[in-house]
């Protein structure tokens, strides 16, 4: 009996133990990666007060970081001070130790994010997130797609390139050593919360992971292309109608480099015959599956001393990226006897991406030139071992690739490479390969390491020439009065229209003809106008000697240039007002024209009441306003009715894109009798007035309304959301009410899903985070010490249990800035320092 009792209790205890080790009485949810999915962390470990999630709970005083770290690889002690926003200020005797400390400090607060981002770009999400059958399927598909596109291999090649530059490689290795010094000391209890939830441990950090992160940035900013849709359009419409729908230059454009005197050089010969699309397909080609959210883009400008109140340049930058939590940026200051740099760093890579030192400041916006082209490949046989190129056989390269899927083992894939790049898409048996500049090895890390040390324009030029992809408008200002901007990157040389369509991969004349020589890259240095600026608009006018093609935003740039032209004796308050401007140039362009053609006599009482809501609207997209909601909904209806030809094409299996919004402006302004205004589906010959009026009438029905039948506010319509990187809803901030729109300088994107909302007859939003100003920075240079302010929507800590996880979100939403604590010595600013660490 005693033995039986003992055994019974033993069985119960063992059962409880197993239950707690792989418990499934509770589950965490991940949304949107594959619908709504659950995964089950081991509850015993997770709930334990000594080591589970409780240990990730922080008080307002911040994380409990050890006061010292002993690491034999440091050549001298490093002081690491965290201020009252948990910004690390690193004081080291040399660059190698400084970047070791940058790695250590970043890992201390953002380790899970750093590693998760590298898992995402290298196609390894199934390894950590695939905890159910459905997630295995979805994530394996995502991972295989990533690997096929080529970035994991490109990152490996990048590391090989870095190894040829021992100085840069040493810095990258020291950064990795710093991260690993943190990882090596981690117990289970100290692991970031997401590791505990997903039940895995961090790997050692490597230089390859830094390369992967930089490739992730290149992917984010350059993986946009419409080649398939454009090829469909060309085949469907024919040349003449295609040209009417998809012109390349907006007549009212205000390019970044508009000084045509610069265009006066002899270009490299490329050829001027029009590129021909590949048309050897019967059914329409599928659309680009990854359209970028509107709002990805950025603003930057630098005012020369003649335009500022202080007489010294002011530099401003606000890169618009996905607003995830933890934020893409991590603020840091790095001080050595040779430089003192402060700014936004990329967690996982050394250096400062957008920032300043004692002498100079710099910032980035995306150049948006097209650097992704597709080629149809003709194989010699089914084995795909060789393909036809210029009438000869060329061998392809096959790489066996192994994907690990959590709980399901390994999946082996064969990646096939041609000299253009990897085979990425297959449509109706036809393979298409991708030539993508992001797949080439590159040295962007070196640019940011050198910029940290720059003292003048020459140093800036020497630093930026290593930057190739994603091409960036690198704005610059120096306290000696110099300002400059280069649209820096490897920009392909192409014949007219090359890159716009899918090309025939059998012929060498469809290849790129090299890259723009450095001296021909569009740039400005101390221009007469007194400022340099960019907002993702076209880099140059059509008079520029090389053909350029890309995905440009033509409203913000026009408005920005107009405002900067008018500025004088500028101070930081005018700069803030510009960065926070919710003014829409697009609305100002369109609304007066729409009003002109709207036939008021045909409107009902309710429609007239709706129209009255536009009265006194100043084209500001504030969160509270309802006019932007009505305008955007009307604009969507107007596009759908105007471009009904595209719907007709889609019905025939040819998926096309709407032309840029400025094309519609051109029709309203200059082509009021175009055949495009006519509705194909009706016998009546519609005119511009009919379409404008009909689209407004539709708006009364399609407009999102509140319970009392009134249009909802703009803030409610666009429902700004900051999602946690793994889409864990409880670690996200949803429905943040902020103003702005993709074509305003405060370019916070609209998540409202027009098509889905119409279909469901309810308010529907696109999944994932909004895009928008991910870092707002204003730097006023001076004789000795720069004054700087900045903000980003997030917090320095990546720990959802920390006060510093999202403590700056509200400040950002309210349009306020933090004054940056730019220390000159470790003894300065003691009242602001919360934590002191000594690495020795």
């Amino acid at each position: 009996m005693r033995i039986l009792s003992f055994l019974a209790v033993l069985v119960i205890t063992i059962f409880l133990f197993l239950f707690l080790n792989s418990s499934n009485f509770a589950s965490s949810t991940v949304e949107s990666l594959s619908g709504k999915e659950t995964f089950v962390p081991p509850m015993g470990k997770l709930l334990s007060p000594s080591s589970g999630f409780w240990r990730n709970a922080e008080s307002k005083t911040g994380p409990s970081l050890s006061s010292s770290l002993r690491d034999g690889s440091l050549s001298a002690p490093v002081e690491l001070l965290y201020d009252d926003r948990m910004v690390p200020h690193i004081f080291a005797d040399n660059m190698q130790d400084a970047f070791f400390a940058q790695g250590y400090a970043t890992a201390s607060l953002r380790l899970w994010q750093m590693e998760f981002q590298t898992h995402a770009v290298s196609g390894r999400l199934a390894e950590v997130l695939a905890t159910s059958e459905k997630m295995r399927e979805v994530l394996l598909k995502m991972d295989r797609k990533k690997r096929k596109a080529g970035l994991p291999l490109a990152a490996k090649k990048t590391v090989e390139l870095w190894k040829k530059d021992p100085k840069t490689y040493e810095i990258l290795q020291r950064y990795a050593d710093g991260v690993n010094a943190y990882i090596d000391d981690l117990s289970y209890a100290e692991l970031p919360l997401e590791y505990k939830l997903l039940n895995y441990r961090p790997e050692k950090w490597t230089v390859l992971k830094s390369a992967l992160l930089l490739k992730a940035m290149a992917e984010d900013l350059t993986d946009k292309d419409h080649d398939f849709e454009m090829t469909n359009a060309y085949k469907y419409f024919g040349r003449d109608t295609f040209n009417l729908f998809y012109p390349e230059y907006f007549p009212e454009q205000s390019p970044i480099i508009n000084d045509t005197a610069f265009y006066n050089f002899k270009p490299v010969a490329v050829g001027d015959s029009l590129a021909k699309p590949f048309l050897g397909f019967d059914q329409g080609l599928p659309k680009n599956p990854n359209p970028k959210p509107k709002g990805i883009g950025s603003n930057n400008w630098a005012l020369g001393g003649k335009k500022t109140a202080s007489g010294y340049p002011i530099l401003c930058n606000d890169p618009h990226l996905k607003l995830n939590l933890p934020s893409i940026w991590f603020e840091a200051q790095i001080v050595t006897p040779d430089f003192n740099v402060y700014g936004a760093t990329l967690p996982g890579a050394p250096g400062v991406i957008s920032g300043f030192n004692q002498y100079v400041a710099w910032g980035v916006t995306n150049v948006a030139h097209d650097v992704r082209d597709w080629y149809a490949i003709q194989w010699t046989d089914k084995t795909k071992s060789a393909y036809i190129f210029d009438g000869e056989e060329r061998a392809s390269e096959k790489i066996l690739d192994t994907v690990y899927v959590r709980g399901a083992g390994f999946v082996v894939d064969t990646l096939v490479y041609t000299h253009f790049g990897p085979v990425v898409r297959t449509v109706n048996g036809q393979d298409y390969v991708l030539h993508w500049q992001a797949n080439e090895p590159s040295s962007e890390a070196k640019t940011f390491i050198l910029l940290a040390q720059a003292k003048n324009y020459q140093d800036y030029q020497a630093a930026i020439k290593h930057f190739s992809c994603p091409a960036q408008n690198l704005v610059f200002a120096c306290n000696n009065g110099d300002i400059a901007l280069w649209t820096q990157g490897k920009l392909p040389l192409r014949r007219p229209e090359q890159g716009k369509f899918v090309a025939d991969g059998r012929y060498s004349f469809n290849q790129w003809s090299g890259f723009m020589p450095q001296k021909h890259i569009p740039h400005e240095y101390n221009p007469q106008k007194g400022y340099v600026a960019s907002a993702n608009q076209h880099s140059v006018s059509p008079a520029y000697p090389y053909y350029t093609y890309g995905y440009f935003e033509e409203y913000r740039g026009r408005y920005l240039n107009g405002q900067l032209d008018a500025l004088s004796a500028a101070t930081d308050s005018e700069m803030k007002a510009l960065q926070l401007s919710n003014f829409s140039q697009k609305a100002q362009d369109f609304l007066p024209l729409l009003m002109k053609y709207l036939q008021r006599g045909e409107l009902s009482k309710d429609e007239l009441e709706l129209l009255a809501l536009f009265r006194d609207w100043d084209y500001e997209y504030t969160a509270e306003a309802v006019a932007p909601t009505i305008f955007e909904d009307w604009f969507y209806n107007l596009q759908a009715l105007t471009y009904d030809e595209l719907e007709e094409a889609a019905a025939q299996g040819m998926e096309l894109n709407y032309p840029d919004a400025w094309h519609l402006l051109g029709l309203l302004k200059r082509d009021t009798s175009s055949f495009i205004w006519d509705q194909i589906s009706t016998e009546k010959q519609e005119r511009i007035e009919d379409i404008v009026t009909l689209s407004f009438k539709e708006t009364l029905n399609t407009l999102p309304k509140n319970k009392s039948g009134q249009p909802i506010s703009w803030g409610e319509m666009k429902a700004t959301a900051l999602y946690h990187l793994a889409r864990i809803k409880e670690f996200s901030i949803l429905n943040l009410s902020v103003g702005g729109t993709a074509d305003a300088l405060n370019a916070v994107s609209n998540r409202y899903d027009f098509a889905a909302s119409r279909k469901a007859d309810s308010l529907m939003h696109k999944g994932g985070s909004a895009a928008g100003p991910s870092w707002r920075m204003i730097v006023e240079l001076g004789e000795k010490k720069p004054k700087a302010q900045a903000i980003y929507p997030g917090g320095q800590s990546g720990n959802p249990g920390s006060h510093y996880y999202d403590n700056m979100v509200q400040t950002w939403a309210e349009g306020r800035y933090n004054k940056l604590l730019y220390l000159e010595s470790a003894e300065e600013g003691k009242e602001n320092i919360r934590i002191r660490q000594r690495l020795h």
Binding site: R2, I3, S5, F6, V9, L10, I12, T13, L16, F17, L20, A26, S27, S28, T29, T38, G44, K45, L46, L47, S48, P49, S50, S51, F53, W54, N56, A57, E58, S59, K60, S187, Y188, A189, L193, L197, I728, K729, E730, F731, P800, G801, H803
Partner: protein
């Protein structure tokens, strides 16, 4: 009764101490409960109650202390992440503390029964039961 309280106090101290010494508190909880259960010889019922009570207190006080220190921010988020069916942070803490109590109680009981097997039951209740059995056997013989 004194022995029961003494055992509970010992377990409370040991598992509280293990908060600082061990990565896995629940493992430590069980381990110490078995150990003390083996050493104290309290009887099955009191053992379970002593182990459960002291574990419950230890877990609850620790969680309450951690939660109060950071304003309950993380617990509030985790409640939703884990899909725990409780309307408040207190509910979650009570639930987790009950899990701890179960571990402690089972541990004590296991220790106690193990001891019984190894050395034979020597506590008062068991002796009485044994004496009773003997008397019945004698009566039957008579």
């Amino acid at each position: 009764m004194t022995r029961v309280l003494l055992g509970a106090a010992a377990l409370f101290l040991l598992i509280s101490l293990s908060f600082w010494l061990f990565a896995s508190w629940w493992w430590a909880n069980l381990f110490f409960a078995i150990l003390i259960g083996f050493a104290m010889q309290l009887g099955a019922g009191p053992s379970f109650l002593a182990g459960a009570g002291s574990s419950f207190l230890s877990w609850f006080i620790s969680m309450y202390w951690i939660n109060a220190g950071n304003g309950g921010l993380l617990l509030q988020k985790m409640r939703a992440v884990l899909g725990l069916p409780f309307g408040s942070n207190m509910g979650v803490m009570l639930f987790i503390a009950l899990l701890g109590a179960l571990l402690g109680g089972l541990g004590f009981l296991l220790g106690q029964l193990g001891r019984d097997i190894a050395t034979g039951p020597v506590d008062g209740r068991s002796k009485r039961r044994r004496r009773g059995r003997k008397r019945s056997a004698a009566t039957f013989k008579l």
